[in-house]
């Protein structure tokens, strides 16, 4: 029994970290309509930034500044934000699929830089982090994992509250106005370019926070952590959960990551011996089918976006999308 609880704590930690990243993407895509195909670059920037700043010095590569942990965490987020600002300046003039391709290219470039800049990032061997904060006090067992989960859930809650407040604020309304009709927004004297950049950078900083926590938890990051598959996973979570809905984004993260791991477990336990070796491939097919099915039968996601009337002072009135359209 303790084993099951211990595993669930571990699972929830990873799912909650991914949920933070999905929330960041939701701000970019769900609220502002920015098709970010390079989620993994921000995630990786956070992880690498934190581990380089907080890590212990190692032979053969730069870094290991052993900064106080909160500073390292903040540094990772800043690194993700600065990267997003540069990328955003260059690419945010592009629309939709062009933006997706450009950001995807940035993510692939990021992975290649991490793989080849051996002296800075440890190259393909990856970078070893630092002992997880407070581990010497609590030990590395179940209690620590539980504490870490609580810390991650706190971060998740903070990000959620922040984004919910943002969505119902006038700024949230402006984001949606730009998403729906940029020309109309411009005609009202708004400056879409600045707002898009602000949303892109904010979302990326949140994704960077997820990356920082991920790197901290594993105390290790390598180019294998920043492959395009992660972008795909995070997008799948948002699509299944419901773009534009923060609750949906979090639910999607737990659901997709849950089915990803549960299908692996179930196949290894219940599949007949002769298909055991093929479980990996079967798993990919199953997950692909879940996403395709979702897109076919419930394209708005499990939790559709709720249209809100944003007012200064926080008074807001919720409607489902269906109501809003009538």
């Amino acid at each position: 029994m303790i084993g099951v609880i211990s595993y669930l704590v571990f699972f929830s930690t990873i799912a909650a970290i991914l949920a933070i990243a999905v929330l960041g993407l939701n701000l970019q895509w769900g609220n502002t309509g920015l098709f970010n195909g390079g989620v993994v670059a921000s995630f990786g920037a956070g992880a690498y930034g934190t581990l380089i700043l907080g890590g212990t010095p190692q032979d053969g590569h730069w870094g290991g500044f052993e900064l106080y942990y909160p500073l390292a965490l903040l540094g990772g987020m800043i690194f993700a934000g600065v990267l997003a600002w540069v990328v955003g300046k260059l690419t945010l003039r592009l629309r939709h699929d062009y933006l997706a391709i450009a950001t995807f290219g940035v993510a692939v470039a990021f992975e290649n830089v991490m793989r080849n800049a051996t002296t800075v990032t440890g190259g393909a061997q990856g970078i070893r982090g630092f002992e997880r904060p407070l581990q010497s006090l609590i030990g590395s067992g179940f209690t620590y994992n539980l504490m870490f989960l609580i810390a991650v859930l706190t971060c998740l809650a903070l990000v959620y509250v922040f984004l919910e407040r943002l969505t119902v604020s006038p700024f949230g309304r402006l984001l949606r106005a730009i998403r729906e009709d940029e020309t109309a927004a411009r005609s009202l004297g708004k400056s879409p370019d600045k707002v898009r950049l602000a949303a892109f950078v904010t979302g990326s900083v949140i994704i960077g926070l997820a990356g920082s926590l991920y790197g901290t938890f594993y105390a290790f990051v390598s180019p294998q952590d920043v492959l395009p598959i992660l972008t795909f996973q995070i997008w799948a979570m948002l699509i299944v959960g419901g773009a534009g809905n923060n609750k949906g984004a979090m639910a999607g993260a737990f659901l997709i990551w849950g089915s990803w791991t549960f299908s692996g477990w179930a196949l290894s336990r219940f599949a007949p011996v002769e298909v055991q070796l093929y479980t990996g491939s079967i798993q990919f097919v199953l997950i692909g089918m879940v996403i395709v099915g979702m897109l076919l039968w419930r394209p708005q996601g499990l939790f559709p976006e709720r249209l809100v009337v944003s007012q200064p002072g926080g008074g807001s009135r919720g409607k489902t999308q269906a109501e809003g359209l009538t």
Binding site: G3, V4, S6, Y7, F10, F11, I14, Q58, D59, N112, R115, N116, T118, G122, G123, A124, Q125, G126, R128, S140, G141, Y144, F217, Y218, A219, F220, S222, P223, Q224, D225, L227, I229, L230, W260, T261, G264, W265, S268, R269, P272, V273, E274, Q276, L277, Y278, T279, G280, S281, Q283, F284
Partner: protein, 418 residues
């Protein structure tokens, strides 16, 4: 071929069920986290299961029959770590085989197996970062790997070039953790042996063409080419190398010891190609693994990591036998020394060998496991050294050119260090 494999797997399953249940009335689970969804990962898992089956035929290990619970890592660290954690927490394993990539093995080691006190034995992770981690005392002696080849292999590459009188060598290496390590080590070894390295070029996965990389290596006009590549990109790179008029003097890392590579490059171009590998010891029983593998899978064990994976599983199971029933991960890890003792009774890598080991261990003796990769012996950091062999391709597979015992290998490596 596929059918044969499936049949083999079914047959394997049947033997597990029949002999396992008859011989023992309890079952101990061991975990395996291997990339079964990748083409070269599946045989590595099959051969580990094969070792488990043999042990079950010999009556199991530690008084119980063994069940290997296999999970796919998808070469994704998140998925691999989750799989390992599920194996430890939900299946209650004390021994984990895996992973293949260092980038997956490392987070499993730091965040799952070491905190949980589970022994981890990898067939194929080659990163030097593990040695450093172990030197800092952060693995608690729970980490082992049967992949001896990075250091031994680069030294052998330098020896081949020196023996052949090749004065300058260009290197093509796979741009991953293993390849970067190899490139660094082999360049240093060539330099130590007085051979000039004219180019050291990274080869990225899955490119349609390697013309740019090959040209870069070719313009330096080397006497020979060193290849630290896997078959998939190796065959494309070598085809372009030869079609552009590059030399056919080649030194191959053991990862290219594959029929696929030989067939798609063409044997007529590989006449001057010499490969290096770690070797089985020179005793009659050395071919046990090869013979058993051929009987089972219908082909020679050519492919990256097969022999290493078999040895990883066998040594782990021997250690479980030596540690006895209900041993903890740390106990099993401590027992590894008992089954790889150079002064122990020599045992072969098959069912009969495992039975013999059981008897010896029951009498309080120690054994020396003579495995598919040689007389495996771990140092304090869980790294192995092994005898080496120089090989070349033939019509039917590969053929040995030269054999170097462990002492000779160690002597040669020491001579490079001077």
């Amino acid at each position: 071929m596929k059918k044969a494999l499936v049949f083999a797997a079914v047959a394997a399953g049947m033997t597990t069920l029949s002999t396992g249940v008859q011989a023992q009335d309890c079952t101990t689970k061991i975990g395996a986290a291997l990339p079964t969804s990748v083409d070269w990962g599946r045989p590595i898992a099959e051969v580990a299961q094969f070792a488990v089956d043999q042990v079950n035929e010999a009556g199991g290990a530690g008084g119980c029959s063994i069940e290997m619970v296999l999970r796919d890592t998808q070469v994704d660290p998140k998925v691999g770590v989750d799989a390992a954690k599920a194996l430890v927490d939900l299946e209650g394993i004390k021994v984990l085989l895996g992973a293949v990539s260092s980038g997956v093995s490392m987070p499993i080691l730091t965040s799952v197996t070491v905190p949980a006190g589970v022994m981890q034995m990898s067939c194929c992770s080659s990163s030097t970062a593990f040695t450093k981690l172990s030197e800092e005392g952060k693995t608690n002696g729970l980490w082992f790997r049967t992949f001896a080849t990075t250091g031994v292999q680069s030294a052998m590459g330098a020896k081949v070039a020196a023996d052949k009188g090749w004065k300058s060598v260009a290197i093509l290496y796979k741009n991953d953790d293993w390849g970067q390590d190899m490139s660094r080590l082999i360049a240093a070894d060539f330099a130590a042996a007085g051979i000039e390295v004219t180019a050291n070029v990274a080869i990225n996965d899955a490119q349609p063409s390697y013309r740019a990389e090959v040209t870069e290596a070719l313009t330096s006009q080397p006497d020979a080419l060193y290849l630290a590549l896997y078959p998939t990109e190796g065959k494309s790179a070598v085809r372009e190398w030869i079609s552009l008029g590059g030399t056919q003097n080649m030194i191959l890392a053991n990862s290219l010891k594959s029929d696929e590579f030989r067939d798609s490059v063409g044997l007529q171009y590989l006449g001057n190609a010499l490969g290096t590998d770690t070797a089985s010891p020179r005793v009659e029983s050395a071919d046990a693994f090869k013979a058993a593998y051929e009987a089972k899978f219908g082909s020679q064990p050519n492919g990256p990591g097969l022999a290493n994976s078999y040895d990883a599983a066998m040594i782990a199971l021997l250690a479980m036998e030596a540690a006895g029933k209900d041993a903890s991960g740390a106990d099993i890890a401590a027992a590894v020394a008992k089954v790889t003792d150079p002064n122990g009774t020599a045992i072969t890598a098959d069912t009969a060998g495992f039975k013999a080991a059981k008897t010896t261990l029951a009498e309080g003796g120690t054994v020396m496991y003579q495995g598919a990769t040689g007389n495996v012996r771990f140092d304090a950091n869980g790294d192995v050294s092994a005898p080496a062999v120089v090989w070349k391709f033939t019509d039917s597979g590969t053929e040995e050119v030269e054999y170097l015992s462990l002492t000779e290998v160690d002597a040669f490596i020491a001579s490079l260090k001077k």
